[in-house]
């Protein structure tokens, strides 16, 4: 159990700055997901918390204690990686025992056996215990990896894209399993991923990283409905939020260079009138119906079973809309659409920041 804080952490590798003035607060027992693209600094953040890298600047606190001088072993964190996280040449049992056999912990043999048995049961890997790790499938390997983390009862679990190398079905299954484990253990998890679906579905809180900057932290709902800027709007959600440039003219959204108008009902605080804006609207808040104000051509139809995702062509821009699966539309059909005016998010066109967050 632990409360983790990063204060003003900067990490440089030679000339390359991986993290800039990062502040992060992960509450005790929280499932925190760091979301970002490759090279955003997710793994670096994790390694700094684990004690595998030293920050160039700033502090790491675990339960309020500055751990700058603590080695990886003393921090008592557990690490699960995307791959190479199991010791080769060892059996599954030896892998699970390995952290308990450290001189640092001195766990008695009987307890080691008991703990390994319990973890193997929880993760349903009992039948694999005597197998060598190179004889395991990807999913089994990650199960064992998670097991090796749990068996230690660490203060924090650090997971670096543990599901990314697995196929889709397995990823989904392990996602649920991992979330359950976390809820049962009630421990602090820091989970790093580039997959926004993982972030949305597992996280109590999400932190969005971009080029070493923490752009926004919040619950999945906050991040999804109220992105701080256009970067977050694009990063979270699949398909991402539609972003259309335009202006507010007397309570109506007037798009330019796309030439159409839609009503706007949000509270327009300050002198928003006439300012260059970007309107953000989620695909599920675009409404396709006859009689709607704007005309578009169907560019593409993706059938997802529960729903269809339309790509609409307006001028030379593409907008995405989700429609019920029963909707029958063919490519190049002409359709009309509008939006849910309450769900529109306004961004400043120049800075990309949400007006709501700015003030």
């Amino acid at each position: 159990m632990a409360h983790i804080q990063l204060k003003n952490v900067t990490k440089k590798f030679g000339n390359h700055t991986a993290l800039r003035h990062l502040d992060l607060d992960i509450a005790d027992g929280e499932f925190f997901v760091l979301l970002g693209e490759t090279g955003a600094g997710k793994t670096t953040t994790l390694r700094i918390i684990a004690g595998l890298e030293k920050p160039t600047e700033g502090q790491v606190l675990i339960d309020g204690v500055d751990v700058a001088d603590w080695g990886a072993a003393e921090r008592d964190v557990a690490l699960v990686l995307q791959q190479y996280s199991l010791y080769p040449r060892y059996t599954v049992r030896q892998n699970l025992e390995f952290p308990l056999k450290s001189k640092l912990r001195r766990v008695p043999d009987a307890e080691i056996a008991e703990r390994v048995a319990r973890v193997a049961k929880t993760l349903r890997i009992e039948h694999l215990l005597e197998r060598k790790t190179d004889k395991l499938s990807g999913g089994e390997m990650q199960r064992v990896s998670i097991g090796r983390a749990i068996v230690r009862k660490p203060r924090v679990f650090l997971m670096d894209e543990p599901l990314s190398a697995l196929d889709a079905k397995l990823r989904e299954a392990l996602r649920t399993e991992l979330k359950n484990i976390q809820m049962n253990l009630g421990q602090t998890f820091l989970f790093v991923t580039h997959d926004q679906i993982e972030a949305m579905s597992m996280g109590d809180k999400i932190g969005v990283l971009n080029h070493g900057h923490l752009v926004q932290t919040g619950t999945p709902n906050e991040i999804y409905n109220n992105p701080k800027n256009t970067f977050v709007a694009r990063a979270v959600g699949s398909p991402p939020m539609n972003l259309i440039d335009g202006k507010l003219v007397s309570g109506r959204a007037v798009m330019a260079p796309l030439n159409f108008e839609l009503p706007y009902e949000g509270a327009a605080n300050g002198n928003v009138e006439g300012r260059a804006l970007t309107f953000g609207i989620r695909p599920e808040d675009l409404v396709v119906e006859s009689g709607a104000p704007v005309e578009a051509k169907v560019h593409d139809v993706e059938n997802h079973g529960v729903e269809k995702i339309l790509t609409l062509r307006v001028g030379d821009a593409m907008l995405r809309a989700t429609v019920p699966a029963q909707t029958h539309l063919a490519i190049e059909d002409a359709v009309r659409f509008s939006w849910n005016p309450e769900k529109v998010v306004l961004f400043d066109q120049k800075s990309g920041n949400s007006l709501k967050h700015a003030g």
Binding site: A73, A78, L81, Y87, P88, R89, F98, K103, L104, R152
Partner: protein, 319 residues
Amino acid sequence: MAAVQTSGEKALNRVAIVAVLVITLIFLAPIYWIVSTSFKPRNLSTTIPPTIVFTPEVSPFVKLFTKRSQLREPPTAEEYAAAPWWERMVFDGGEKVVRDGKGNVQWSAYPNRFMNSLIVAITSTVLAVSMGTITAYGFSRFRVKGEADMLFFILSTRMLPPVVVAIPMFLMYRAVGLNDTHWGLIILYTAFNLSFSVWLMKGFIDEIPKEYEEAALVDGYTRMEAFFKIVIPEAATGIAATAVFCFITAWNEYAFALIMTNRRAQTAPPFIPSQVGSGLPDWTVIAAGTFLFLLPVAIFTFLLRNHLLRGMSFGAIRK
């Protein structure tokens, strides 16, 4: 690979097999020559054309291991009858085994020189491989200032033909009293092999994902423990390959051994040919000495063959 072969492929396969056989025979011919000569009676060792069919005998080995002197006159019948079977072979060659005052057989210097070779080659191999592994690990895992320059410097020590420094080395060794000592040769061979060992091991260690050790660090082990528990077993293949190369270099080294040693620490390579010069050359004894000298490398390589097969295909240690 195609499961079904066309007749063209079959023919090509046969040609390849024949070619491999011919090349193998060419390479094995000198070895056959040495081995067969070491079992020949002396009078057959220099016949032209060479004798292929003969009754093998072990007299060359008896002579190799004993100190002998020329007989002025043939042994008496009693002497001959009293002698053990192997001593008679020496009598048959017109020589006698030298004994000390108490009648103990005097050994030749060969076993001693052979031991010297083993001591020097094994110790220098162990040193070169272990120091090389640790150095390579450091270069592989840590950000070292001037890493590229240092690695180049290490490599550059091999660019100079070693014999060029033989005379200065000899003078230095004489000054510090290292000539004709085991340690003298061990230090020399370790120095020769170290750069090679560092480079080879760096390649192997670079191939081992550092995630393994980091997992061990996080799991509560020190870097030393992680190195011995995780890195060394993973690098075993590379260590075996490097050890074979270092051992062969040290075992076969001739020039420095000839210059730096003469008695106490002399290794087998300079000793074996030195036997040519005493009296008429007995090629069978030289061949016997050479044959035995070939064995350790063959055995060592054979024992490590599984590691070597994987180790020689550098960079392919992961499945």
